[in-house]
Every structure is written in C-alpha cells, then in structure tokens.
C-alpha cells in the first residue's frame, strides 16, 4: 500500500512536469524574449527623444521657403492638374500652347532610376506625354526650361518632324516623380 502511494507520487510529479511545468517554461522563454525587447525599446526611447530634439532644431533652422521649394521638387502626390498648369506656364512664356497631356503612373517596381541604398523606392514616377506646335527656337527654350524646372522632369522621348512652315509638331515624354 505504501509502495503504491510512492509510485503514485512519482507519477503525479512526472505528470505535473510534463503537463504544466514544461509547457509553461517554454512560454516563459517567449515572454522573456518579449520583455527583453520591450526593455530595449524603452531604453532607446530616451535616445530617440534626444535625436528627435536635435533634428527638430535643424528642421526649424531651414527656411520655410526652402522646404516649400523642396516639396515642389518632389511633391506629395502626382497632382496632374498642377503639373499641367506648370507645363502650360513654361510653354506660355514662348507663346506655345500645350495641345494634349497624358499622365500615366507606373507600378513601383518599374522605376528605372536610382534605387536608394536605405530608402529604396521612397518615390514613385509617372510618365507625362504632351504635344505642342512651335518653331525650333522656342522648342529649344521650352526644353531648357523644362529640364531646369523645380519639379524634376527627365526627358524620355522627343519626336518632331521638320515642316516647310517652320512650325513643327513636337511630342515630348517626360518622367516626373512624387514622394510615396
């Protein structure tokens, strides 16, 4: 009788270990890892706050005009209407009217320009095609302005054909970008 009690105790001990203690211990290891991560993040929070404060001081030292100009270089969205207005303004300087304008956005993976080292594809691109009629001189000036415009536009295609009148129909395709 006493011997059977002892065996029962051993069985209970083993049962308790495998049914509760061991699984609970595995869970504890997971909880310990989580707790460690939380502790690490909390420890870093103060460093992050210091860094943020330093960056904020730098940010506030940049003139607002410059930040606005930077936003024009790489706007927050494609804003096709604004883009058409910008192109029309440039063309208008030389008495040229934009006849038609098509905007086609590209999927992210089709970006052909630079892939940033730490910020891969933090911008998207759109292909803008437009046509207009002008003489060569005005076309050259318009193209120069386009290439130097604040909003970055990479010329992808230019097609025109000489005509006896001196006015050529140009078709220009550019790539422009905006921040994701």
């Amino acid at each position: 009788m006493k011997s059977s009690s002892n065996i029962a105790l051993i069985v209970l001990a083993i049962g308790l270990f495998f049914s509760f203690t061991s699984p609970a211990y595995q869970e504890i290891k997971t909880l310990q890892a989580s707790a460690g991560e939380y502790r690490s993040v909390i420890d870093n929070a103060s460093h992050i706050a210091e860094t943020r404060d330093a960056l904020l001081v730098n940010y506030e030292s940049i003139p607002k005009v410059e930040i606005d100009r930077l936003s024009k270089v790489l706007p927050d969205n494609i804003d096709a209407v604004r883009l058409a207005l910008d192109l029309d303004t440039i063309a208008g300087r030389y008495g040229v009217a934009i006849k038609d304008l098509q905007v086609e956005t590209k999927p992210n993976q089709n970006l052909t320009l630079a892939v940033l080292p730490d910020h891969s594809q933090s911008y998207q691109s759109a292909t803008v095609t437009f046509s207009f009629v002008s003489n060569y001189s005005n076309f050259a000036k318009l193209l120069t302005d386009l290439e130097k415009s604040l909003r970055i536009m990479d010329v992808k295609s230019v097609i025109f054909k000489a005509a006896e009148t001196g006015l050529y129909e140009h078709r220009v395709t550019v790539s422009t970008y905006w921040l994701k």
Binding site: I7, L31, A114, H119, S157
Partner: protein, 218 residues
C-alpha cells in the same frame, strides 16, 4: 545409561528467539524508506517547480503589461506627427539628391547638332528615345552630296563623348539629287547628365569644331 542420540536432525533449543529480528527485514525497510523519501522529494520538487514557473509567468506578464504602458507613454511623448514630418523630410532630401544625380537632359544633343552640323546637311526628322537599353537617337536628313554627308559623319565619329555605334543608313538620292539618309546612334548617358553639365558650366567640355549653324529648320 540410556544412550543419548539425536532423534531428529532438527536441532533442539532456542530457535527464532535467538536470531536477531532485523537480520533480513532491515535492508528492505531501509529501501522502502529511501524510496518513499525519493518519491516525496520528487513530488515536492515538482510542486515547487510548477509553483515557481506559474508565479514567474505571472510576474513576466505583469512586467510586460507595465512596459507596454511605459512604451505608450514614451511614444506619445515622442510626438509621432513630428517624427513623421522629420522622416518624410529626410526621405524627400535623400530621394531628391538621388533624382538630381540621375537627372538627364537632352539639350546637349541639340547644342551639339547646332554647332557641328555642316551647312550642307539638314535634318528633317528627330526621334530621341530613352529606353531601358539606353538613350537612342534616330535622325533622318538630307545632304547636298555624299561629301557633305561624309563631313557630317566625321563630326559624329569625333564626338565620342556623346555618341557610340553611330550608323548612317538608307542612303538614297531624292528627285533634287540630295542624299537622303537615316542616322542611328546610341547616346552616352554621361553626355545627358544634368549633374555633369552643371559641374562643367565653368569649364565647358570640348565640343567639336563649329562648322555651321542650326539646320533643323527646312
């Protein structure tokens, strides 16, 4: 005298009383006690372990919930909107730098054509296309003679900083005796670099010797 002999081989005399009582039973009892002790110890240990694990688990869960609260407070103190503004500005700066570095312009091509095209040659069709294979230029034109065309070809050959794999093809005479041709060439990406152009504004690149003016007009 009656002879004394042992009638049985069973010895007479004290039997069990003379044998010590613990002789055979003692080790067994000791074994039983040891076994009982071990079982009790194992059971106690398992209870203690289970209890310890349970309590430690409770403690960890409590700690994590406390740290979650601390983290939320820290996050709120960081002002996510401000951080997001800073991150976005950084992305904009880095992206802009990269885009400007890769910004391409094609006015250098027109500058070259304006300066280097002989007066005896005119271009009638201009087709520039920047594909994934690289920028390509296809121009159709007319030359007053094969000699004039050869002069134009020579300027392209010399302009190896701008063009590569230049081919003049589809040569034929029109009704007026002019040589009609198609020029196909690969434009070197470096020649279209805005960054390079800006850097060389003060020290212009060597341009082929000027021979004429614009000839894209009819």
């Amino acid at each position: 005298m009656q002879p004394q002999f042992q009638s049985s081989f069973i010895p007479k005399g004290p039997t069990s009383s003379s044998i010590p009582s613990g002789g055979m039973n003692m080790p067994r009892r000791k074994q039983m006690d040891l076994f009982s002790f071990a079982a009790s110890a194992l059971f106690t240990l398992s209870i203690v372990l289970a209890g310890g694990v349970f309590l430690y688990q409770l403690f960890l869960n409590y700690s994590i919930s406390q740290m979650k609260g601390e983290l939320e407070s820290a996050r709120a103190a960081l002002e996510p909107e401000t951080v997001n503004t800073l991150i976005r500005l950084n992305s904009r700066l880095v992206s802009t730098e990269s885009l400007i570095k890769n910004h391409q312009i094609i006015t250098p091509i027109f500058d070259f054509l304006e300066i280097s095209t002989p007066k005896t040659v005119r271009y009638t069709d201009f087709n520039f296309n920047n594909t994934t294979k690289g920028p390509e230029l296809i121009i159709q034109g007319q030359a007053v003679s094969y000699a004039a065309l050869a002069a134009a070809a020579e300027t392209f050959d010399k302009a190896d900083t701008y063009f590569a794999s230049t081919v003049f093809s589809d040569l034929k005479l029109d009704d007026k005796g002019n040589v009609i041709f198609t020029l196909r060439t690969q434009v070197k990406p470096a020649a279209l670099s805005y960054e390079r152009t800006v850097k060389t504004i003060e020290a212009p690149a060597v341009i082929p010797e000027a021979t004429t003016t614009v000839t894209t007009t009819p």
